[in-house]
Symmetry: C2
Subunit: 319 residues, 2 copies
DNA sequence: AGTAATTATATAACCAGTTATGCAAATTTA
DNA sequence: TAAATTTGCATAACTGGTTATATAATTACT
């Protein structure tokens, strides 16, 4: 199929289905070649039953990775074909124990020969090819079990989108965003306090004029994250990292990380040696982010905020 | 799936189907991730329409390798979703020209980004894996087009079965087979002649007693092929290769070749230096076999058989 | 020009699987 | 020990495809 070269790997599913149906069609004709009256779809059930004892419908389904109703249907067909018997010995009357009939066992003996021929034929193709399809499938089953395709694509999306996040200094046009993004999370988890209102209603005066800094993260020119450094009058700490807020719309774009790293760089260029922050352990993603950025938990400083139950610091002289 | 390791490569079809369904399921969830209201099965149609102009149902079906009714259904669904318009300009009123709507084109632009992420994600798996599934599929498509799986298995069957063919010297128990196998082909294509009756009714006297040899090919102890060397009283030729017959039941087991090689070996151990045979060009498979065994066409010797229109020789001193 | 053959599509019926559901038997819990 | 839950299976309805077939429009052939 030429199409697959054009679409790219997004058509992997279609390509697999296409190959599967080709192979299955040929398998059907193979049974004719060996003059065996056998539907290819019976094979997995037939195989597990050939291993010996009788089994329940559900056990077979689990072993072959089909749904239970699918096995029920196949077993019914195989009973009609005389290959399989059901309701074999079991005291549990819900269970339907299924096993091969004499005829089924005899057919299996003939089938094994056919399997060997097919195995050789497929090995032949593997020899001819430079890429081993059989091994590739086994490997992919493993790799996708480890980390699903969905997860892998999600990661790619994040990488791509985070490339489109720009961090810019605060300007008057972002005052509304600075306020609403912060109000959103504060009023969701806590109550707005007096100190919040002061800083959010007039950041120019309460943050910038006092030597602080505000950064805004833009995605498609829309402000989706904000963050500020507030100048502290403290023997140890130069700035407080505060009023960090990221819109829920921006999830999965690493906006928090990008903004955090940018504000730390900003602090460094301002000549800061130690940063301080206060938060609440209820905000798990935020705490995780601070940790990732290098902040360490500290204790014993007074806070103007009621909601604060954790304090952290970042020593910039280390890095 | 552990099963696939146990069944061997005969389950290739199942394994492919299993992987295809896994990948397709994840694809469906991917569209959710990107908040696109889109059924994965629409993708091939959507893709070919995105390439530009509108197309007929049948053209689309051919391009994506689906049946025409499948495309009819998909197009209908996409019309309901507002992505596609039908009955676009065409003077031929049988044709249903289909193209993307504005909305469809807009969706394609968003989708392209998604495709890139998926491509990257799949490339990532390919990097992790040692066997390249994508390339393997492309290669297999090519190799199976060159020679179908059916044909390849047929070849393996032939190789295996020809190993079970045993060649043994003539014994009285094979007299009936020697006669009937020869009568079968002679009376199908020609008339039985006087010379035939003599040799077939009493091979001990007319062939063996005169220093000739008869070999019988057995498959599962059943005589399915016969062949004889008849001592010639001739300055150039030592023996005539004659009364070679293979049952139609034995087709695809290389019985003819095996028997031919055996009788040539026999002639060598008898010290023969040149073999002779007569046949008819109507028997193409036989002539091919003689050729394969090394016989060369010659002319100008008298024959007791009416049906003979070609004569061949094999010089044993060459090999 | 009229008939026959071909083409493009829609529709119906099927196929190999799925999920959803209901029922009876068995097991667990109170 | 009775009630609640779980288990095993059959059945029904759906899905994404298929083949077979009917019909209308077009083209080819007297």
């Amino acid at each position: 199929m030429e199409l697959f070269e054009k679409t790219g790997k997004i058509a992997l599913g279609s390509r697999l289905r296409y190959m599967a149906s080709n192979v299955t069609d040929e398998a059907a004709r193979l049974h004719e070649l060996y003059q065996i009256d056998f539907a290819p779809k019976w094979f997995p059930v037939f195989f597990v039953l050939s291993e010996g004892d009788c089994k329940t419908i559900t056990d077979i389904a689990n072993e072959i990775g089909h749904s239970q109703p699918s096995v029920t249907k196949i077993v019914k067909e195989m009973i009609n074909a005389g290959l399989v018997e059901d309701n074999l010995r079991s005291q549990d009357k819900r269970r339907n124990m299924v096993g091969l009939t004499k005829q089924g066992k005899a057919l299996w003996e003939r089938m094994r020969i056919q399997c060997i021929d097919i195995d050789h034929a497929i090995d032949g193709i593997i020899q001819e090819a430079t890429h081993n399809l059989w091994e590739a499938l086994a490997e992919w089953e493993f790799l996708l079990e480890q980390k699903s395709l969905l997860k892998r694509v999600q990661e790619q999306k994040k990488i791509r989108e985070s490339k489109d996040v720009r961090v810019v200094p605060y300007q008057a046009e972002y005052r509304q965003a600075f306020k609403s993004l912060n109000e959103e999370w504060i009023s969701t988890y806590f109550e707005m306090e007096e100190t919040d209102h002061k800083a959010l209603d007039n950041p120019e005066e309460y943050i910038l004029a006092k030597g602080g800094k505000i950064l805004v993260a833009l995605y498609n020119n829309e402000p989706l994250g904000v963050c500020s450094l507030i100048k502290m009058d403290h023997p140890e700490f130069d700035y407080e990292l505060a009023k960090m807020a990221v819109s829920p719309k921006a999830q999965g774009k690493s906006v928090g990380t990008i903004l955090g790293r940018a504000i730390i760089e900003e602090a460094k260029t301002l000549g800061a040696s130690k940063l301080y922050l206060e938060s609440n352990t209820i905000l798990k993603p935020a705490i995780n982010l601070y940790h990732k950025l290098g902040f360490q938990k500290i204790t014993g400083y007074p806070s103007p905020y009621q909601r604060c139950n954790i304090q952290m610091e970042l020593d910039l002289r280390n890095s």
